[in-house]
Subunit: 310 residues, 3 copies
């Protein structure tokens, strides 16, 4: 998330009432979760295991729970609870803002676009030209839909990321301030759910087509002209190339990458990357021909065991 | 389901026009399906295999299709079709009652709660304070939502249990008269479905968080601070402890129990209990490390077969 | 799809501006995709692999991209892009026609039927008597619902078939002009999606009952008194007999047939036919007892490998 206007380190430190390391006039222009950081951003880190990753990321200001050495040209905000203080900043710059109108006053709707009955558009939603939003499509705040996009009935675009910090007494929610961005010529089936980014964008690439009851989690980036069959589920921060095909009920774990033209067969559960052009199968999924040989061998196993035991 | 006022055995027998065994003034205070029975309840049984279970349950009145010996302190209603007559009683005490208003006149809504456009609240729905119900959330009659609960767009709370008796000519529906009860600080994702209990409650425990497109069936009880990833499906009458984690597309068969802190990995299909603290995987699921060893061994099987055949 | 009135070959050829083979007065009465063709229909074919199938089908007019010999009593329309020209005809005879009213003026609703708030009925929708459509049920144009049908909240009936031709530059959508037909006494759970046929009907047989979050794709025909548990997914052009039981999250590939009384166990992925009365399991699914033996054998494989390697 970009801030509406740049802030100084001193101003930000005052907002969360914490000490800082670095020039008090050090400039902050954005706020992002570690997967999405750029120069000018604040990021947070609260576990020694990830200190180096955060300190060496593109973020130039780090909320951290230990007074470590400040990297050259960066700044630190020393917090006893970086998660809490990051959330506090998100809420400050992205206040709660529910539109109670069916179509918000700040929604922009392109020419030739049809909104069927029961469609809800939150604040600052942008829809391009010649789209069709079928009945009861819900678009949360700030999402951006391109031109010639079709969204079938009951689909929900831009619900919050499913992202919590487990504390002893509660699951503490990371406040989502990102968006869903859907490019031109996309078609999305009925009763799908595409969550917004935690602080950045969930992206659906040009010309991609999705069937019904599909789940796309936060910050996942999907390429162009992909085809996803019904009930596919993609976790957060997944990267999918162009022309990728996912068959029905296939699922993908977070942080995985699928190259251009990759194929994941039905009901597969992917926990590793697929190189471009390869086909994977199984749960957990591996290269499809190898997996098929394993399954063919398994069919012979009962007889083998009988033979060896006799 | 508790009756609004106690009835005598004689009164109930008259309603379903059947013979009875026991004191005609024997008192009936409730009506429940076998999984949920308490003293004062009527239960029904129509298969000899389950006679003993029903007769020895906490229920003190049993609709039964054979004139068996009546247990001490209990009463029998002798019916040629206990399922039909149980349903007749449910319908009598729980008549059809659809609210055709978006927010029913008998819904109670706590202070600070936000109902976004398109939300539907049935009759006698209770919502606590400081909740957010996103657009098009549907709450069927009688459901109870605690405080600080967030429900994302398109989720349906309290649809009927999927419960039928297969007769030669039709699937005969058990009428649902139960509720969904959601405790404080729960968050439920978009386009989920949580069905009401057949005669008792489906329960979501304090602080539990669910992602999108999740199915929770009738009479399932879920503990506190659980986390369920997208497209999880839980059948009826499942018991889940506290701090349980279900990964994406995991499914659980009816009547199963998961102990506190249990984990079910992605796409697993659980048909047995998980002890507290254990992790299961696979379809059907078993202890995860054991299952992983099987899958590692399977990868070696094609070569083993080649070697043995050469 | 039947045409509102018969057309001649010459008229049709003029609409898509192409050459024809056959009597210019040859009569055309319908337009159908290859799976659904009848005498009088136009069908299209654009790949030499399927030329024979199309030419020998019941269709009496074939849009084809090669000037082959015209079968006796039939006619050809010679097109450089049969998919495009077929779509052009569909759009001509089935023009875009969105009702922006919650209940369209041409919807017919039988006596005793309850439409809860937020229900949407498209153009020419027909609903029988004594149905209950729970809140936010969406019925797209032309769908037909029988008597005593219950549809739970958020379910979408009649969204477009997920059917595209992959071209180098885009996924080209086949325009759906079919319907969903739901027979009497069907009950459908919450947040399900049942897509319309591409050119014919998706059919749900008398007395069939479905749980929540189920996907039924285009042109699938389901028999009577079936029971489908939650999150089942059925691809297009599947044929399912009577009294078939599908357990939770089971999935079926396109073009498969399940005989009467077939059972597919939970999370199974079916890619072949199931004979009447048989039970299948696994992904890919095979006869259940055989599959169970394989899984039992797999449990012994790690020890076997250890023994053979020692």
């Amino acid at each position: 998330m970009k801030l509406a206007s740049p802030h100084t380190l001193k101003q930000i430190a005052a907002l969360i009432n914490c000490e800082f390391e670095g020039d008090e006039n050090h400039v902050i222009t954005g706020l992002n979760e570690i997967h999405m950081v750029e120069a000018g951003d604040i990021v947070f880190v609260d576990h020694p295991k990830y200190y180096d990753k955060a300190l060496q990321s593109k973020a130039t200001t780090i909320i951290i729970n230990k007074n470590v050495e400040c990297p050259q040209g960066k700044a630190l905000l020393i917090s006893d609870d970086p998660f809490r203080d990051y959330n506090k900043l998100v809420r400050h710059f992205y206040p709660i803002n529910y539109s109670l109108k069916q179509i918000s006053d700040t929604a922009k709707i392109g020419e030739g676009t049809v909104l069927m009955p029961g469609v809800y558009l939150g604040n600052n939603v942008t829809i391009g030209t010649n789209c069709v939003l079928h009945p009861n499509v819900i678009i949360y705040n700030d999402c951006v839909i391109g031109n010639n996009v079709i969204i079938h009935a009951g689909t929900v675009i831009g619900a919050d990321a499913f992202y919590y910090k487990r504390r002893p007494e509660k699951l503490d929610k990371m406040i989502s301030c990102g968006r869903v961005v859907i490019e031109d010529n996309v078609e999305i089936g009925a009763n799908c759910t595409i969550d917004k980014g935690v602080s950045g964008d969930t992206l659906i690439g040009e010309g991609t087509k999705m069937d019904n009851l599909i789940m796309i989690a936060h910050d996942t980036h999907i390429g162009k002209r992909c085809q996803f069959a019904a009930q596919v589920a993609i976790a957060g921060v997944v990267t999918i190339g162009d022309n990728v095909i996912l068959w029905g009920q296939a699922a993908i774990r977070s942080d995985v990458t699928l190259g251009d033209g990759a194929v994941l067969l039905g009901q597969s559960g992917l926990a590793e990357n697929i190189p471009a052009g390869k086909t994977y199968f199984g749960s957990p999924a591996s290269e499809a021909r190898t997996k098929m040989k394993e399954l063919a061998a398994l069919k012979m196993l009962p007889d083998l065991l009988k033979k060896l035991n006799s």
